[in-house]
């Protein structure tokens, strides 16, 4: 079940607020609530997930009730209400992908990472989950990784291994002193 009980205080940087300001210009006056989804995407890209405090601050910014943010964040599957791995591997599990091996790919990811769906690896780097059709059936099996939602297509066990290794190496380079 989804829950919004997880919390962690967050601070919105001025650069993030500036992006919010840009987004609300797109809508007629008084219709700033339309900016909710784009803003939640921006917040999730910045923090990796949506904590209650983050959602409350969004409500405050948009001058709407916190419940109006919670009900939206819990409805749309792209929003994470729990902390995730740095890289969330989201594998399409709908029909057309399954015809060409998506279930095998998910099993392989589970074995390779050693964690079940929606769990985070101990190093905090990875989590994974099955998601529904992402409009890439011709390039199946496919997975995506946010917050840019890069697609990795025509997956094989080998290409998944390669991807995981690359992401691990990238991390090692980034943390080098």
């Amino acid at each position: 079940m989804l829950s919004v009980k997880k919390n962690e205080p967050v601070e919105f940087q001025d650069t993030l607020i500036a992006k919010f300001d840009e987004v609300i210009q797109r809508y007629p006056e008084g219709k700033q609530k339309s900016a909710l989804l784009p803003i939640l995407h921006l917040v999730q890209a910045a923090f990796g997930w949506l904590s209650v405090d983050a959602m409350d601050k969004v409500a405050n910014y948009l001058e709407i009730e916190p419940i109006e943010v919670y009900e939206v964040a819990t409805f749309y599957t792209m929003f994470f209400l729990q902390p995730q791995g740095k890289y969330v591997l989201e594998v399409c599990r709908t029909g057309p992908c399954c015809l060409v091996g998506a279930e095998r790919i998910m099993k392989h990811i589970e074995n390779r990472l050693g964690v079940k769906e929606n769990e985070v690896t101990t190093d905090g780097l990875f989590s994974w989950r099955g998601i529904e059709c992402v409009a890439a059936c011709g390039m199946a099996p496919v997975l995506q990784i946010g917050p840019d939602y890069t697609y990795y297509e025509n997956l094989t066990e080998e290409s998944v291994d390669q991807l995981i290794d690359e992401l691990k190496n990238k991390q090692a380079i980034n943390t080098r002193p």
Binding site: H41, L62, E68, F75, Y76, G95, P96, E132, C133, A135
Partner: protein, 450 residues
């Protein structure tokens, strides 16, 4: 080579830029529309073209436009449905990725025809790369004077914005999409009032699919009458087909409506035949929501005529022996695929994506998923098969939006055409865990080429 109206220049390097797009004749339709035509003229051309909605419902686009209410002093909106979430469909993603200006040009033409001064492209949130591509294309178009204030000095203003969704199939339904665009949960609205009267922010609104909007560009360039001559019967023009599943060449193909299904599957110009030299078992021709058909019925109608890729021919025989063109999501199943497992997969999808407003859909999809799960895993009873039919009938037609029907049809059709495969799962539960049922009497009626 079939005539290409949307993808003609898809392989031209740099076609995603305004410069190359214009070199290939892009934005002629915008100039023609705003400089030479009145909004009414354009609606008339689109009506004459016979263009039908490419998102799935197939409703005539020109007629939809003519229903738009035009009260004085109230803004009107055009919203492009780029939520593309019907399983099996990926044509809009392809078009937006490679030729974003085809959509932007169509948006300008359509907005002008409808008298909209602010238009939105609602793109599913997972398509962040496509959102960036469209935003860049909009900037280019604006810099070139095709968007903004007083376009071509003709007094017409237009702003275009891209809105991300949040990952919800239901937002492909137009009123759910509008709710979502207003920053709410994607719960479909009760109709009437229709969006043409009360849509976005309670203002008159038209919601059109990406491909429908892009198709208005060739309609305007060649004229509605010329467009109507392409295709067959009331299936005019060309259609993007997303081909996936067990075929040699999955991908997006632009076909002239009326192409024989057999040619589409087996010709090297299109799907290139079944992968691995296997045989064809079944096809879902128009996205996961439309009835699945066994090989014999997808290649030929019940009357024995060649089945064509058109609204009419695919629907020939009604749901008893036919299906629908839908969104053009063409999913091909080879002889090794399990119909029960796939039906369970699709039903899990609909259960997951039901918004929960209407009990028949919210509860019914869950029941169907559970029953199909036990059939697939060898714990089903014979009575489960009729139970599924019963539940699907109680969902169909009893919900606010078509998601209920979309969930019911795949189940009902799978049982209608593949009942003995379901029965085999009941009678041979353990064996069904090890092997699939195979082709049986749905055998590919084409003789294998030696």
């Amino acid at each position: 080579m079939a005539q290409k109206l949307l993808l003609e220049h898809i392989n031209v390097p740099g076609i995603n830029t305004l410069e190359v797009y214009r070199q290939k004749g892009g934005y002629r339709a915008v100039e023609k529309a705003i400089k030479e035509l009145s909004p009414e003229d354009i609606v008339e051309e689109v009506k004459k073209s016979g263009l039908r909605g490419r998102g799935g419902a197939g409703f005539p686009t020109g007629m939809k436009w003519s229903f738009l209410a035009k009260p004085e002093g109230v803004p009107r909106y055009l919203v492009c449905n780029a939520d593309e979430s019907e399983p099996g469909t990926f044509k809009d993603r392809y078009l937006m990725t490679h030729i974003p200006h085809a959509l932007i040009e169509g948006m300008i033409v359509a907005s002008y025809a409808l008298g909209a001064n602010t238009s939105y492209i609602y793109v599913r949130g997972e398509m962040m790369p496509q959102i960036r591509i469209l935003e860049r294309a909009i900037e280019e178009a604006k810099a070139a004077g095709f968007l903004g204030k007083n376009i071509f000095g003709k007094g017409y203003d237009l702003e275009l914005y891209v809105q991300p969704g949040g990952g919800a199939y239901i937002c492909g339904e137009e009123t759910a999409l509008l709710e979502s665009l207003e920053g709410k949960r994607g719960n479909p609205r009760i109709k009437p009032p229709f969006p043409a009267v009360s849509g976005l922010y309670n203002c008159p609104t038209v919601v059109n699919n990406v491909e429908s909007i892009a198709a208005t560009v060739p309609v305007l360039n060649m004229g509605g009458e010329a467009y109507a001559k392409i295709g067959i019967e009331r299936s005019t023009g060309t259609k993007l087909i997303s081909a996936s599943g067990n075929i040699n060449k999955p991908g997006v193909y632009e076909i002239t409506l009326g192409l024989p299904v057999e040619e589409f599957i087996y010709s090297d110009e299109y799907c290139g035949g079944i992968a691995g030299g296997k045989r064809l078992k079944a096809v879902v021709a128009g996205g996961s929501s439309v009835p699945i058909l066994p090989a014999n019925l997808i290649l030929k109608t019940a009357k024995g005529e060649s089945r064509l890729m058109s609204y009419e021919s695919l629907a020939d025989g009604g749901f008893a022996t036919g299906t629908m063109l839908g969104s053009g999501g063409f999913v091909v199943f080879d002889e090794e695929q399990c119909i029960v497992r796939n039906t369970w997969n699709f039903t899990r999808f609909y259960h997951h994506e039901s918004c929960g407003q209407c009990s028949p859909c919210r509860e019914g999809t869950g029941w169907m998923e559970k029953v199909l799960h036990r059939l697939e895993h060898g714990h089903g009873n014979m009575s489960d098969i009729d139970l599924l039919v019963d539940v699907s009938k109680n969902i169909e037609g009893n919900t606010i939006c078509p998601l209920g029907d979309a969930a019911a049809w795949p189940v009902a059709s799978a049982i209608r055409h593949f009942r003995d495969e379901f029965e085999w799962h009941v009678l041979h539960g353990e064996e069904a865990q090890i092997r699939n049922y195979g082709l049986a009497h749905y055998a590919d009626p084409l003789t294998l080429v030696e």
